[in-house]
């Protein structure tokens, strides 16, 4: 008989929500021992998660149960959608590990089981990109329904408007002889909707909330980047959430600032060589700088790279003769800690502009991509003189939403068409 496996299935904490998944013959039994009882299959319910031995309260979580074979792996599955703190996640994983017969999943093991049960097919099969996408789409939908009901509604509203515009355009095409005037300015309506999509695309995304905001500290060698990182990490306002780790190119310090996950990145990991300052400072770090959500620049005012969220720091403010920096810069002393709170406040302000507001609806990368495609198609429709091309732009936009949600086919279009119009010849 197969083992029952468990793992954290969402991104690394801290995050808004962390999802822990159990799969295997013992999943329901183990789930019951932690959650007290399991809801009906596919119905989310709130449960108190408790340590099965001590009875200690671990978290209050959304719990889902799936029965074999109707689950993502084809086996019995339980999902805990916990609060995304590291302590909580650790506690739940430890509790699960204490149950006999359960073990932590190997990397990719859920996917492998899903494949073995014929639930999904992954990378092996060539050309399955679409299906794989669809598979994650269904998972995404489940998450969406739970956590992002607002977005669902917004998407449905957009789809309804697209459908209405499409029906209007199709009526004009397939019912040439109908004596109703062609809908006024379908192209103009497409433009309006595209502008609305663009507006949404400019809003903060959900990824920073889940994956953390990338704050990059950069500047010429020996300006005190590492000292600054250490000073920040040592500050009581910033909680270091994991041990710093050195990657090939740079050092990353995950920390939490005012409850927001931040990935502080130090380009000091780059090999600094005096004669190559220009080359390295500009070319090599450029990639990191580019990827930065917020750039903290230690160096001369003129030398700072262009970045939309730039903080200029005047470092080593404690050293004699370094002055007070230049206008708009934050003077910081990594030695005395002076200026660190002000810098953190500045970082916090900029980070806030990247995060969805409290209760605001945020798009993830996938959704943004699809909506971007829809916007592009509608912009094409808005420029088109021929109603056939307007209809084509609308069809493309609907197809982008189809891929987003897996819904709306031609029958919906026809329903919409015929419920609204009276048709002649």
């Amino acid at each position: 008989m197969a083992d029952t496996i468990f793992a954290l299935s969402s991104g690394r904490p801290p995050a808004a929500i962390s999802m822990i998944r159990l799969s295997g013959p013992q999943a329901h039994d183990a789930g019951t021992r932690i959650a007290g009882s399991l809801p009906e299959p596919r119905i989310a319910a709130v449960r108190e998660l408790r340590d099965p031995i001590s009875g200690e309260l671990l978290d209050e979580a959304l719990v889902l149960r799936f029965d074999s074979p109707a689950s993502s792996t084809g086996e019995d599955v339980v999902e805990f959608h916990c609060h995304g703190g590291r302590a909580v996640v650790d506690a739940v994983l430890t509790a699960l590990g204490s149950i006999e017969g359960l073990r932590a999943a190997d990397p990719g093991e859920f996917t492998r089981r899903a494949f073995e049960k014929g639930r999904i097919d992954l990378t092996e099969a060539e050309g399955l990109a679409d299906l794989i996408e669809a598979e994650t789409e269904s998972q995404r939908k489940a998450a969406l329904a739970l956590a992002e009901g607002g977005l669902r509604k917004q998407i449905e509203e957009w789809q309804a408007r697209l459908l209405e515009l499409s029906a209007e355009a199709e009526r004009a095409i397939d019912y040439d002889e109908d004596d109703l005037a062609t809908g006024p300015g379908a192209a103009r309506e497409c433009g309006k909707l595209a502008a609305e999509f663009r507006d949404w695309l400019h809003r903060p995304r959900i990824e920073p909330l889940k994956d953390g905001v990338r704050v990059v500290i950069a500047g010429p060698p020996n300006v005190g980047k590492s000292s600054l990182i250490n000073a920040i990490a040592g500050s009581d306002r910033a909680i270091v959430t994991d041990a710093p780790g050195t990657t090939r190119d740079h050092i990353e310090v995950p920390l939490s600032l005012g409850g927001v996950p931040i990935l502080l990145t130090d380009t000091a990991g780059l090999r600094d060589a005096q004669d190559k300052v220009e080359a390295i400072g500009v070319a090599r770090a450029a990639a990191l700088v580019e990827a930065a959500d917020v750039l903290v620049w230690l160096g001369g005012a003129g030398a700072a790279p262009t970045h939309s969220r730039l903080i200029q720091v005047h470092p080593k403010a404690d050293l004699l003769g370094q002055g007070n920096g230049f206008t708009g810069s934050v003077s910081v002393s990594s030695v005395s800690g002076e200026g660190i709170p002000a810098l953190l406040a500045r970082i916090g302000d900029l980070v806030a502009t990247l995060l969805p507001g409290e209760g605001a609806i945020a798009l993830n990368r996938r959704q943004a991509q699809r909506i971007g495609e829809a916007a592009e198609a509608l912009e094409m429709a808005a420029r088109a003189a021929d109603c056939v091309l307007v209809a084509e732009g609308l069809r493309e936009a609907r197809s982008a939403f189809d891929r987003l949600t897996g819904r709306v086919g031609v029958e919906d279009l026809l329903d919409s068409l015929f419920s609204r119009f009276c048709l002649g010849k």
């Binding site: 074979p69 097919d121 598979e135 397939d174 091309l389 031609v410 002649g424």
Partner: protein, 559 residues
């Protein structure tokens, strides 16, 4: 011994018989009355938006409809002329008698034997069709096309009156209907309607808006016939508040609202009582007055199909401006008819569970001559393939409206009479009425079903395409206009197309696939998609089910 027998000499049956004969089959065409072959029982017009596309496609395979329409056209109109060329819809008014004569002549020259008899029973031997028992004796055959239209089991409604029969004054094929139900193919009822026919001499044409025939001399067929009939004008009339009042006051006497008719009617061609009820706010509905022929006094008022009692029809017609003195020659009526779930067919229109039996036309839940004729072509070409062991001829929704229809019918089924519309074709920009030869010419040559003149015409067309002069042609200009969009679509399609290579074995038991819900098993079993790409279009099939299906299908292929 016939290779192919066809039951029913309507638009579908005639095309099926002629197409099978063109592929070299010995074909018998069974009908109640020989002179009814190619009868237009409803609207005397051929073509339109989407429908015109089908006629042009049929023509590439040397079908009859386009040539008969050209010979009998008394009014031509290119619909959507003000819009992009992708949706231009060639449509002609045909002289009903000339059209029938033209079909009769084309049919005779195709070598089809017309057999006047009633088909009583399909003879099945060893799971295959072996012949037909008729009122005149047994006719053995290798393949059979049933194209009985509304004649299978049909009831006609004129107000409170109910008459059995598929067309006014004609009988229904009840014996055959019983057997089709026994085979397990009967599915449900649909309804369609027709307007009252008016006496043209009693219409005050001078007071109505005239709609002249197109001045341009375009034709339906690519093989242009020089003979042209004189062209007539149509006219446009409008219903008014008084008309609607009369109709509303008699709702209770309409079989539609009184509950006598259960079948679903087409939403796109509603009866006038439907329109008045559903669009109560509208003050007027258009009526196109279409002459039925040069020597025919009958006029077809397009837009007021009805099943109201005769006296109500008289009253409301006469409330219309210009029709105050109009006489009704034949009242309108609704027909409720039995149809077969087309999901029981594969993409050649052969019944999946009965080798050699093909179904085509209205029996598959469609409406319209053009839809019926195009299905006749598909069934006829493939019935000949079955009988003579030739290659199947399949139509793809990316390259033809016929393919769109085959795909929609056999995968989605129908819940109301299916009519072709350009909105159904996602590749509309490439599926134009002007480029049917480009799209299907090679397929027609491969099917070896065209005459020598057609073969030459297709050859000339491809020669022209590869010459410099191409850019100047109407089709070449349309190609250029749409090419950026078509390229976008092709990229979009390529992603989907990767899946289309995965064939689902015919013997695959959907119930045995791990992880499929009962609902998915039911949907897939009804539609029996042949490829993964088709499966993705089966209504309601989820991405997860497709993944499971993919795994099962590719494992079977590997095993």
């Amino acid at each position: 011994m016939f290779d192919v027998l066809v039951i029913g000499a309507g638009h579908s049956g005639c095309e099926a018989a002629a197409a099978a004969a063109r592929r070299g089959a010995r074909v018998g065409l069974l009908t109640f009355r020989a002179e009814d072959a190619g009868q237009m029982s409803c609207n005397p017009s051929i073509g339109g938006v989407g429908k015109g596309h089908l006629v042009r496609e049929l023509d590439v395979f040397d079908g009859l409809m386009a040539r008969a329409a050209d010979r009998s056209a008394i009014h031509r109109r290119m619909l959507n002329r003000s819009k992009g060329p992708a949706v231009w819809g060639p449509r002609v008014q045909a002289d009903r008698q000339v059209y029938r004569a033209a079909i009769g002549e084309l049919l005779r020259s195709s070598g089809v034997d017309i057999v006047v008899a009633e088909a009583l029973r399909v003879i099945v031997r060893g799971g295959c069709v072996a012949g037909v028992e008729t009122s005149e004796g047994v006719l053995p055959c290798r393949a059979l096309v049933i194209a009985t239209g509304t004649f299978l089991d049909a009831r006609m409604f004129v107000g409170e009156e109910v008459v059995e029969g598929g067309r006014r004054g004609e009988r229904a094929a009840l014996a055959l209907a019983g057997q089709i139900r026994e085979i397990g193919l009967g599915q449900g009822w649909l309804k369609t309607g027709t307007p009252p026919r008016l006496d043209g001499r009693t219409i005050d044409w001078a007071r109505l808006e005239e709609q002249p025939s197109d001045p341009e001399a375009w034709s339906m067929s690519a093989l242009v016939d020089d003979e042209r009939l004189p062209q007539l004008s149509c006219a446009i009339a409008r219903t008014n508040a008084r008309t609607h009042e009369i109709i509303r006051a008699n709702f209770a006497r309409s079989p539609l609202f009184a509950g006598a008719i259960e079948g679903r009617g087409p939403r796109y061609c509603p009866s006038i009582e439907d329109k008045v009820k559903r669009f109560a706010a509208r003050e007027a509905h258009q009526i196109f007055l279409e002459p039925e022929g040069l020597k025919d006094r009958l006029v077809y008022p397009n837009g007021i199909s009805t099943s109201l009692p005769t006296d109500v029809q008289h009253e409301f017609v006469r409330s219309i401006h210009g029709l105050e003195c109009a006489n009704i020659v034949r009242p309108g009526y609704a027909v409720e008819y039995e149809f077969v779930d087309p999901r029981a067919l594969n993409a050649t229109f052969e019944v999946r569970e009965l080798r050699g039996l093909f179904l085509a036309g209205q029996i598959n839940g469609t409406t319209g001559y053009e839809e019926a004729a195009a299905q006749g072509l598909v069934a006829g070409l493939n019935a000949a393939a079955r009988a003579l062991e030739l290659d199947e001829v399949r139509f793809d929704r990316r390259t033809s409206y016929a393919g769109v229809m085959v795909d929609d019918l056999t995968l989605q089924g129908v819940s109301e009479p299916y009519r072709m519309m350009t909105a159904r074709a996602e590749f509309r920009l490439s599926l134009r009425a002007d480029n049917a030869t480009t799209r299907l010419g090679e397929a027609a040559l491969r099917a070896d079903c065209v005459s020598e003149p057609r073969r030459r015409q297709i050859g000339r067309h491809f020669e022209l395409r590869s010459s410099h002069a191409w850019a100047e042609t109407e089709e070449g200009q349309a190609d250029a206009l749409y090419s950026p969009y078509v390229e976008r679509q092709q990229r979009e399609w390529q992603v989907v197309q990767r899946d289309s290579h995965v064939w689902i074995p015919r013997t695959l038991d959907f119930g045995s696939i791990p992880g499929l819900s009962n609902e998915m098993i039911e949907r897939l079993s009804s539609a029996r998609p042949e490829t993964l790409d088709q499966a993705s279009r089966v209504a309601g099939v989820t991405p997860a089910a497709l993944s499971a299906l993919y795994v099962a299908a590719s494992r079977r292929a590997a095993a």
